[in-house]
């Protein structure tokens, strides 16, 4: 058996794969072979490191050196310099944005400094396709401990004491949910893992499943033991092929080692896990809709109560938790509830994974303790706003959440604080917006999403959201009135109050929260018929600045509708009747003489 002296950990998450990490792996393997180091150096494809902005990521252990943006060319040099000659290739390291200092170690990088990785602990560290690597980092120890030393009641007590709350959005106590399902009497119960991640821009669950699938399997088995279920389903969207592939491998390996199946670890406990594929409907993340979908019915929610804990899959008591929730279970069992609840805020314990996206420098995945402020996440971890622009808002909670303005940047993040400021934790999407984003347009975007994804069952969501969207269209196209704004507010409140499921009840949030925090922007659209951010095309007007125009005629020549006229060397003018606002003139003008407002 080879005794490797060095490991090259290459990120095999979807993000890094898309930026070419598979080619990097090939080059590494070829170069290692060429150098005759096959028995000394090992290449390991891992799950996501989180720092997708700088992918593909390569980490060299035990040297603990973190290379960013590696391509096949750089890979050759890393082998020749670092691996063969032992010299770190400084220019491929991450540079501190301000001091420009090269940082070889992950823990020194601002992106990682404030992170505490519990759910993501193994992502980017182990080979997700090798169960022995998982076992080497205490994998299946928690299941072993539970089966040999603890009663179901004790486990549930521990989970309750940890303060873990559902990471899928609602934030319900996980221990209580388990307890409720345990108390429901039935000859058959089920555990479901909700992997139907659907918020725009969110990919925490995918990364966990791609990087550490066994932790989810292990936690599901523990849950099954606690509530008295011997069957589990992972409901995963078919658009996650890599996660599906790794789950399949993981399930097969776990069965081979007797960590799933009959009489696990010699106990009386048996547990099976199957995958169920979703077709990508957002609503199927709602637990009752998800259950309908697994049963082969139309993915639409039903009235609660009865809750799944009482009557779930096939009308049997069912415990549904999301991927990230499950990923927290094994560390809680092994390190104890007290360790877990020492992290976080009073009512929100532990950490939360966020997917940073939008106008932020470090797009990627971070796991931070509850209670960190939005400012810390966006500026310290996220590296601030792209292109030095001004921060305007951050959207959390996806289509159910809201937009948080700069006044609230110092809010410590937890479930309750986010709800208080009109947004919600959701599954952890965090989309950052800058001064170039129009908040009315953003609200419209989210409502379009909800209108597309509504199951159409209840009137408020099916018709109400469409009417709200139509009003927003009126506003962004310059036909809005102040009455429209009142109507939007009222209708939004009533939809929240009357819709059937969680999706409908929260769908007006993006509109209501932007109206709350960015009222002036709405008024500008309605009264002044302008879009301050310059996004809503119908409201834009192009102007030629007389002091800058030299009369070169370039704009007139490029205008597709002949809307620009003027004599040579004299100031040109735009006929707004004819102008279709394509922006060709502005792109052509070499004198910055054309502006839009």
């Amino acid at each position: 058996m080879p005794n490797y002296r060095m490991n090259l950990l290459v990120c095999g998450g979807t993000g890094c794969k898309a930026s070419g990490s598979s080619e990097v792996v090939e080059v590494f393997e070829k170069e290692i072979e060429k150098a005759g180091l096959k028995n000394e150096i090992q290449v390991i494809v891992t799950g996501c490191f989180g720092f997708c902005e700088k992918g593909p990521i390569v980490k060299v252990t035990p040297d603990n050196v973190f290379y960013v943006e590696v391509n096949p060319e750089k890979a050759v040099r890393i082998i020749n310099e670092h691996i063969i000659k032992g010299r770190i290739v400084e220019e491929y390291l991450y540079k501190e944005p301000v001091t420009k200092e090269a940082l070889p170690e992950q823990s020194d990088m601002p992106f990682y400094k404030k992170q505490i990785r519990i759910a993501l602990r193994n992502c980017g560290f182990i080979d997700p396709e090798n169960i022995y690597e998982y076992i080497a980092v205490d994998g299946y120890q928690a299941l072993g401990k539970v089966l040999s030393e603890m009663t179901p009641e004790e486990v549930i007590e521990e989970v309750k004491k940890s303060g873990l709350r559902g990471r899928g959005g609602g934030g319900f106590s996980t221990g209580l949910k388990w307890e409720m399902t345990k108390k429901s009497k039935s000859n058959q119960k089920y555990v479901i893992c909700n992997a139907d991640e659907g918020d725009p821009g969110a990919f925490m669950d995918r990364s966990i499943l791609e990087g550490d699938p066994h932790t989810v399997l292990e936690a599901m088995a523990i849950c099954g033991y606690c509530i008295g279920a011997n069957k589990g389903y992972i409901y995963i969207r078919a658009e996650y092929p890599l996660a599906i592939q790794r789950l399949r491998i993981a399930i097969k390996q776990a069965y081979e080692l007797g960590l799933l199946g009959s009489n696990i670890l010699g106990s009386n406990f048996s547990f099976d896990i199957d995958l169920k594929y979703g077709a990508g409907a957002f609503i199927c993340g709602e637990e009752t809709a998800l259950i309908n979908s697994i049963e082969g019915g139309r993915g639409e929610p039903t009235v609660k109560p009865p809750f799944p804990a009482q009557k779930g899959l096939w009308k049997k008591p069912t415990n549904i938790n999301n991927v990230e929730t499950f990923a927290n279970i094994c560390p809680i069992i092994l390190k104890g509830a007290d360790w877990f609840n020492s992290i976080g805020t009073e009512k929100s314990k532990g950490t939360k994974v966020f997917a940073l996206a939008g106008k932020i420098n470090n797009v990627g995945l971070v796991e931070v303790p509850m209670g960190l402020t939005l400012r810390e996440i966006i500026y310290d971890l996220g590296g601030g706003i792209k292109g030095g622009k001004k921060f305007k808002a951050v959207q959390t909670g996806g289509p159910s959440g809201g937009c948080i303005p700069k006044e609230h940047l110092d809010t410590p993040i937890d479930y309750d604080n986010l709800t208080k400021i009109g947004s919600m934790m959701g599954s952890g999407g965090m989309i950052v917006m800058d001064e170039d984003d129009c908040m009315v347009n953003i609200a419209k975007f989210y409502l379009e999403f909800t209108c597309d994804e509504s199951c159409g069952r209840c009137t408020p969501c099916r018709v109400g959201n469409m009417r709200m969207l139509e009003i927003l269209k009126e506003i962004t196209e310059g036909r809005g009135t102040m009455e429209h704004l009142e109507e939007l507010k009222e209708l939004g409140q009533i939809i929240k109050d009357t819709a059937l499921c969680g999706l409908g009840q929260t769908s007006p949030n993006p509109v209501l929260s932007t109206m709350n925090f960015f009222w002036d922007e709405y008024v500008a659209h309605v009264k002044d018929k302008t879009c301050p951010a310059g996004v809503c095309t119908a409201l834009l007007k192009y102007y030629i600045l007389p002091e800058k125009c030299v009369g070169c005629t370039a704009c007139a020549k490029v205008c597709p509708t002949n809307a620009i006229s003027g004599e040579v060397r004299k100031t040109h003018v735009i006929d707004r009747e004819k102008c279709i606002k394509c922006g060709a003139c502005m792109a052509t003008c070499r004198f910055n003489a054309i502006t839009r407002r």
């Binding site: 209840c458 469409m466 009417r467 109050d497």
Partner: protein, 578 residues
């Protein structure tokens, strides 16, 4: 018991009671739309999708749908708070904003529950305007007209079709604003396994599902001097038609109905009951033949075309068990265009047979290609009870003040046995009255078989005939029928004869009857009226009908003979599940 307060009134209800039911107990009306409880046939549509019944519950974050929220101890409910009222109005306005406002010319005008709701809530303005749903109209079937522009997604049709009738024709398709109830792949109804029972039409609150009307064709035939238009009326019409003229449910209006039909210009007004008596003779004969000669049992009745289509789609391997008898109104049509035409010396090509039926499936039935004789359709046109009422109103006839008139001879004579064809259990009871006497050569003194009566979904009876126990099964509602058929498929059925009616309750609650929107007391009254009509008849056994006897003597010959088979029997077609 659970104690709660609704609008300040204290109410005590058993555990499991919804807020809506509790409020009813306190005489508080909470408006509903999608909700429908057909308790007697065990159908509840509790999709909680329309959100019209939302109420305020103290301590709850959002409003609760009263129809689907169980009352709990100490609950404080407000149904009339400004918050609940505003929400309810808004929800109705939203529904109206995606609903055509052509009420004046709508098929459901004055019968529409959405219209009624808008009126009850005093809605005078629809604040929301925008995109409207538009779909192609489905007129493919001769039976059911689907105009989905008017669908409000209450899903009652789906519940009825899938859970009660187990035909699974409908389901919600698409998403968001485009969501609509549709057959698989958007197929036209005629290409689906729909049996055209019309129960979806019966429960639809708006005009999204209605009948395909043949009224104008009837008017045209009546005004054509070259045509000899005769009419027959099914047993269930005479106990329901009065409702359309403000009469008490269960009023027996046979005489007025005949009078009205004569005024409308029908040359002869006959009774389908006459043909029902013929059906009994043929069916009883077939049963005795199978019983005595080792034929396949149980025998299944075949007078319900919806049920026939159901077995053709769902159990194509069992097509040898239903009786081969045509349905009574088709038998009537055949007799009219042969025997009657001969007798009256009229060219059968000139005869137009119109059936007044409680049923939508019969509209489809008459276009079945095998139901023709010498190139002529057995029955030409079918209109429903509702359509007949429309014609009477249009003709300006004051129905309530009409004097009773009698059916015409010879096809107007009928027995009590045929009258009860209109209710579940009636066909088999009528058949027993005849089969018993034929098998035993004894007179049956007590003709009433109570155990096959009533609204239980599955009923059975055992009758000792000549020392042999004859076991009878009765199912109404296709879901119940499915249970009996599955038992037959498994070889577990112990019955000798089974009666099946597609509609819950039988023809009295058919898809063409006046709408009752969930008030099954109306159906029970119609049922009681039929039994009353039976009791009032001098002759209560089909084989004693003198006109029928004459028909056999003069024209058909032997019951179950060659001519009878040519005219009165049919065959079935295997169909696909889709």
């Amino acid at each position: 018991m659970i104690n709660l307060t609704i609008n300040g009134i204290k109410v005590s209800v058993p555990e499991g009671t919804t807020i809506l039911e509790a409020a009813k107990k306190a005489n508080i009306h909470i408006p509903t739309l999608c909700y429908l409880d057909l308790h007697d046939i065990k159908m509840v549509n509790r999709t909680a999708s329309c959100r019209v019944c939302v109420v305020e519950v103290e301590g709850r974050r959002n409003l609760a749908p009263a129809c689907a929220t169980e009352a709990s101890e100490g609950m404080v409910v407000k149904t009339d708070s400004i918050r609940a009222i505003k929400a309810r109005r808004t929800v109705v306005e939203l529904l109206l904003s995606d609903h055509p406002t052509d009420c004046l010319v709508c098929e459901k005008n004055t019968q529409c529950q959405l219209q009624q709701l808008a009126a009850d809530l005093g809605i005078r303005n629809i604040r929301y305007k925008g995109k409207m749903s538009t779909y192609p109209k489905d007129l493919s079937s001769e039976s059911i007209y689907r105009n989905l522009d008017k669908c409000i997604m209450c899903r009652r049709c789906e519940t009825m079709c899938n859970e009660v009738q187990t035909c699974n024709v409908y389901s919600a398709v698409d998403r968001g604003f485009e969501t609509v109830v549709s057959p698989a792949f958007g197929l036209p109804m005629i290409d689906t396994q729909c049996t055209f029972c019309g129960q979806c039409v019966a429960v639809c609150p708006t005009a999204a599902l209605t009948q395909i009307s043949h009224v104008s064709k009837v008017w045209e035939a009546l005004s054509d001097p070259d045509k000899y238009v005769i009419v027959q009326t099914a047993p269930a019409i005479r106990v329901a038609l009065g409702e359309k003229f403000g009469m008490e449910a269960g009023s027996i209006v046979t005489g007025k109905m005949v009078a009205a039909l004569k005024r409308l210009g029908f040359k002869k007004v006959f009774d389908t009951d006459f043909a029902a008596d013929v059906t009994i003779l043929e069916e009883a004969h077939e049963f005795i033949d199978r019983l005595q000669n080792g034929g396949r049992l149980p025998i299944l009745t075949s007078c319900c075309p919806s049920w026939v289509k159901f077995i053709e789609h769902q159990f194509p391997d069992l097509l040898d068990i239903p009786s081969t008898c045509k349905s009574p109104h088709i038998m009537f049509g055949t007799i009219a265009k042969t025997y009657l035409a001969d007798k009256m010396g009229i060219n059968p090509e000139k005869i137009v047979v119109v059936s007044i039926m409680p049923c939508l499936a019969k509209k489809y039935e008459v276009i079945r290609p095998e139901l023709k004789h010498e190139g002529l359709k057995n029955v030409d046109l079918v209109i429903t009870t509702r359509e007949l009422a429309d014609m009477i109103k249009e003709a300006g006839i004051d129905f309530k003040s009409l004097c009773d008139e009698d059916f015409d001879d010879p096809l107007g004579e009928s027995t009590g046995a045929s009258v009860i064809f209109g209710t579940t259990g009636g066909v088999i009871e009528a058949a027993l009255r005849t089969a018993y006497e034929w098998l035993t050569n004894k007179t049956l003194e007590d003709v009433e078989f109570q155990s096959v009566r009533g609204l239980d979904g599955l009923k059975e009876a055992t009758i000792n005939i000549n020392g042999q126990d004859i076991r009878i099964g009765v199912a109404h509602g296709l879901g119940n029928a499915r249970k009996l058929l599955e038992a037959i498929q498994r070889g577990e059925s112990q019955y000798h004869a089974i009666e099946i009616m597609a509609c819950p309750g039988g023809c009295i609650d058919g898809g063409g009857q006046p709408y009752h929107f969930g008030n099954l007391d109306i159906v029970k009254k119609r049922m009681e009226a039929l039994y009353t009509e039976d009791r009032n008849k001098k002759i209560r056994k089909s084989h004693e009908n003198p006109a029928v006897k004459k028909l056999y003597e003069e024209y058909i010959g032997e019951v179950g003979g060659e001519k009878a088979h040519e005219l009165l029997h049919t065959h079935y077609t295997k169909r696909e599940k889709i």
